[in-house]
Amino acid sequence: MLQVAYALIPGILIFSWLFGWGVIINILLASVTALTTEALMLRLRQRPVKIFLSDGSALVTALLLGLALPPLAPWWLILLGTAFAIIFAKHIYGGLGFNPFNPAMIGYVMLLISFPLEMTRWPAPLSLSDAHLTLSQSFAYVFSGHLPAGIRLDALTMATPLDALKTNLGLNQTIQEITTRPIFGSIAGTGWQWLNIAFLAGGLWLIHKKIISWHVPAAMLGSLALISLLFYIINPATYSSPLFHLFSGAAILGAFFIATDPVSCATTPKGRIYFGIGVGILTYVIRNWGGYPDAIAFAVLLMNMAAPTIDHFTRPQVFGHGGK
């Protein structure tokens, strides 16, 4: 599991280079909360604390949640989400190996539904904003909500590319019009594309190290690309390109780091392909026709529900049972 954490490092670095100290603060807060809650729950459940803490699973949950939450979000949001993920999505079900749902995504969705305002207040990429917060200013803002004199909240925040796309499509603009805004870069969103390339690098390294198998990422990104290509060909004015879908939002992070969580994913090789396809298609459906701009968390959780059934119907043919 620790290798999964290592694989996230390039993404974390690019993310904080793009969005500032808020990213690091998110991750720090989430990690401290996750490890403390994990230790507390293990204690309560009378399990060996040291062994289970060092398996790295709580840390990975914290990292994923820290990356998924908007930088510079108030401290209590991160604490609440992380603690909820560890306590309710993991330990209530029996701890490591027994959770049917991805804990980080449960934490994320709980926050998204309960605190939509805080959850959608994304900061602008530093390159597009004049207002830069220092480390101490960021800390002060996260913990007290006070901005330094001269910096207004509007200067800090900006809609994410997926959000901007959704809102403006709702205003009957075409994609070509929308994407002329500075938030949209050459492939996807400004900065977002580099972030996703960093996640992609980490993910490919995980496959190379055989920590994860290629099935889920390939199936998920493949199906997302295919379905978006299909609609893009039909009407490029209202449906954005496959590259945009792959490289903005959390598609790459989701494909390599979230949907691949072995505990809540399907476990047969064939099943993992179906699982990935399901996540890819659901992501596209929710992004286009659902109420939220991004959909990885919902898509993953929905497919988590289907995993046992998928496993049941994708059992490999056993040696000596009607083969050659």
Partner: protein, 565 residues
Amino acid sequence: MIRKLFSFKGGVHPPQNKHISTQQPIQAATLAKELVLPLHQHIGESAVPIVAVGDQVLKGQKIARAEGYVCASVHASSSGTVVAIEERPIPHPSGFSAICIVIKTDGEDRWIEPTPEALPYTEMPVSHLRNLIRTSGIVGLGGAGFPSYIKLNPAGVNIDTLILNGVECEPYISCDDMLMRERPEQIIAGAKIMRHALQAKQVLIAIEDNKPEAYATLVKACANEDFEVIQVPTLYPQGGEKQLIKVLTNKEVPSNGLPVQIGIVVHNVATAAAIHNAINLGKTLVSRIVTITGDGVAKPCNLDVPFGTPMRHLLDQCGGLRNDVDRIVMGGPMMGFAMHSIDIPVVKTSNCILAATKANVTPPSDIMPCIRCGACADVCPVALLPQQLQWFARAKEFDRAQEYNLFDCIECGCCSYVCPSNIPLVHFYRYAKTEIWAQEREKEKADQARQRHEFRQSRIEREAVEKAARLAKKKAAAQGDNAKKKAIQAAMARAKTKKFDPGNAPKNTDNLSESQQQQVNKADEMRAKAEQIAASRRAQAQAAMTEKTVKTNSDRPAAKKDEKK
């Protein structure tokens, strides 16, 4: 011609560690003072002792005879005196004890005079050849210990291929390797006998490419034979019969089936050598090559060990154990099991004694929960889903485990080997299998009890019906009496008016009401039926008795007949 090889799914490449024990030639084990020979050293039923305490025995003399179809004889592995026939600890994962014949050796190691066969094996009836192999106590020496004569019976199938298994895929073990290097002529001579018994069209000898010396030796020794020596790429568990068949022929032995069904028979190379010794030299199976190895042994090597030699004796001969030894394993690190003591005898299936140090063993504290990563499913050579099976075994959902083909598991240990959570998966499957067997036995018992109960119930019902019938009959008779009285009165009344005519006198069954008549009929039917049942039961009981007597009387001839099969 280079044969096209195939592959089976999965498999692992654990560190081989075979060189540890191949540095020296095979040495003879020194003679232990006491040899402990279990009656059960093979798959199947226990052999039956034919010596008594105090008897003098010679090396190679039969001391327990095979009884039943799946069984093998046991022979004295050195000369001496039988000092006990009693329960002693045997090599078993649970540390069981079982009946053993204990021989105090006299140090002379004197062979019994072989009884020469009148005909060479090529001219004797094949059934006789198989019987010789059976009475020589030969079982599969690869580790499973299945009586070899059974696997030399083509059972009406045309045998296409005889495969000699020199794969020895399990790490650390090198007894077959050393045998192939040093005694190839024995293997080839044995293979010829096997081929003759099976009338196999071709003979393949498979050796993994981590044993180049053995391969070269056998290729040279087979120069004048039409046997094909094949080098297969090293991959555990290729030595598994069904896996090896897949690699060499691309055929899958059906689940629950035997290779013979698809015209293939696989024997271990050491079994071939043992058959050569038995048929060509008249020497029964009294010893085998055992690899004494592991980081915990001072001088690892291969020893030619008489059966019954205590493992402690062999470990001492190899320079004793190091201080940090954690456990002694019989077999290899993948499929072997830890011994509860080293005062346990070497038996026919003991291919290796592995002294593992603490550093070699995963401490139980490192076992973590399953995270369903599926690494086990990737390496399973049978294409099972070990992660799901362990879940079902843990939850005691045995029917689900069977639905997921638990019984196709060959317990090769690949899954446990790759598990990142260090879960001893195979233990879960063994547990589930034994639980299912226990449940089946329970069910059998319950079925028998139910049958007995149902039989009793039907007997009680039948008796009740009989009783009712008897009562009905009595009642009918009584009613008949009443009718008679009435008739008499009527007759007397009539007689008063006219003269009595005896021919007109009514019978007691005349003038019955319809229901009365039915009752009588029913009672008659019941009586007939009851008599029938009783008669058939008497006949059955008699038949059973006769059979039993015949069986007890003819136990020996029956066993002999089996041997000749």
